[in-house]
Subunit: 154 residues, 2 copies
Amino acid sequence: MEDLPLARALTQALRLLVDEMHTRLAALGFEDLRPAHGYVLNAAAAPGGTTSSRVGELLGMTKQGAAKVVAELEAGRYVSRKGNGGDGRTRPVTLTAKGRRALAAAAAVQNELEAEWVELVGARDVKALRRVLHAVLDRGRDENGDLPPLRPTW
Amino acid sequence: MEDLPLARALTQALRLLVDEMHTRLAALGFEDLRPAHGYVLNAAAAPGGTTSSRVGELLGMTKQGAAKVVAELEAGRYVSRKGNGGDGRTRPVTLTAKGRRALAAAAAVQNELEAEWVELVGARDVKALRRVLHAVLDRGRDENGDLPPLRPTW
DNA sequence: TAACAGCAGACAACCGGGTTGTCTACTCTT
DNA sequence: AAGAGTAGACAACCCGGTTGTCTGCTGTTA
């Protein structure tokens, strides 16, 4: 148990986790999903869907950048942008059937991976890990109570 | 204690940590350092320094890409590339005095931040966090025993 | 009920951090 | 002495994002 700096250990562990997650998703037939996509799908699953602008805030990028990400997902038939839903300015982003399947697959893979971590180090330590992360995130909420953006800063 | 997916909690916590780290480094006068730079400085601190190619492996990018990162650090006077050190092919990358100061500052800030985490959730949970990360990383070593690259996949 | 500030989004140009591709110089075998 | 392998430089390119500008819709104020 050497003394790797926390940031370094977190970075590499997250990289392993994300890589493995997308390897498995690809094996399930979802080969064109990037990490950011999962979060967009998740946002689109909310009742009423989401909008490009809100995706931008979520991911920590401009609304124009987010619109491009959404366009990719639309091209892949994961989401659709129905015209108007009462407010003529917005074009709400909602899940297609394929999008729902992808989201379910992603959740299943996440559960698999977490179960493997539990098997590796025990439920007790994984619970502690969650406690730490949640505490840090809670402290890191901004004035509106929102969590930080999902994209790395690199 | 909701049930945020692990990948999501890790991503956002890491983002907070990295952002805060660089905010504090900037306050100490190191405003031109990106996250990747710290890892390069760290590698350059090894006896004999490092090389662009090895930096590439470490960060998970091509040697040409790594050479650009090293060139940035050289322009910022954090490292110098002395000509030849016995092997005429390599131009070893070593720390300047400024590079050593930056590295020491980074270490100090990391210690500060970890201490704040301990204060927030207790030493016991932070230890558990380390145990989990180390176990996952150990399992994730490749055939040569090397850890995964430091860059996110995004 | 008109004016106007504000927001969602589209479109186009650009940028920067990386990749790809190619080349030279050097070293290590044999 | 020759050939395979490695470190690095240089140039062209790419792609995921940003910046800047514009249109159309909404909601508030008067």
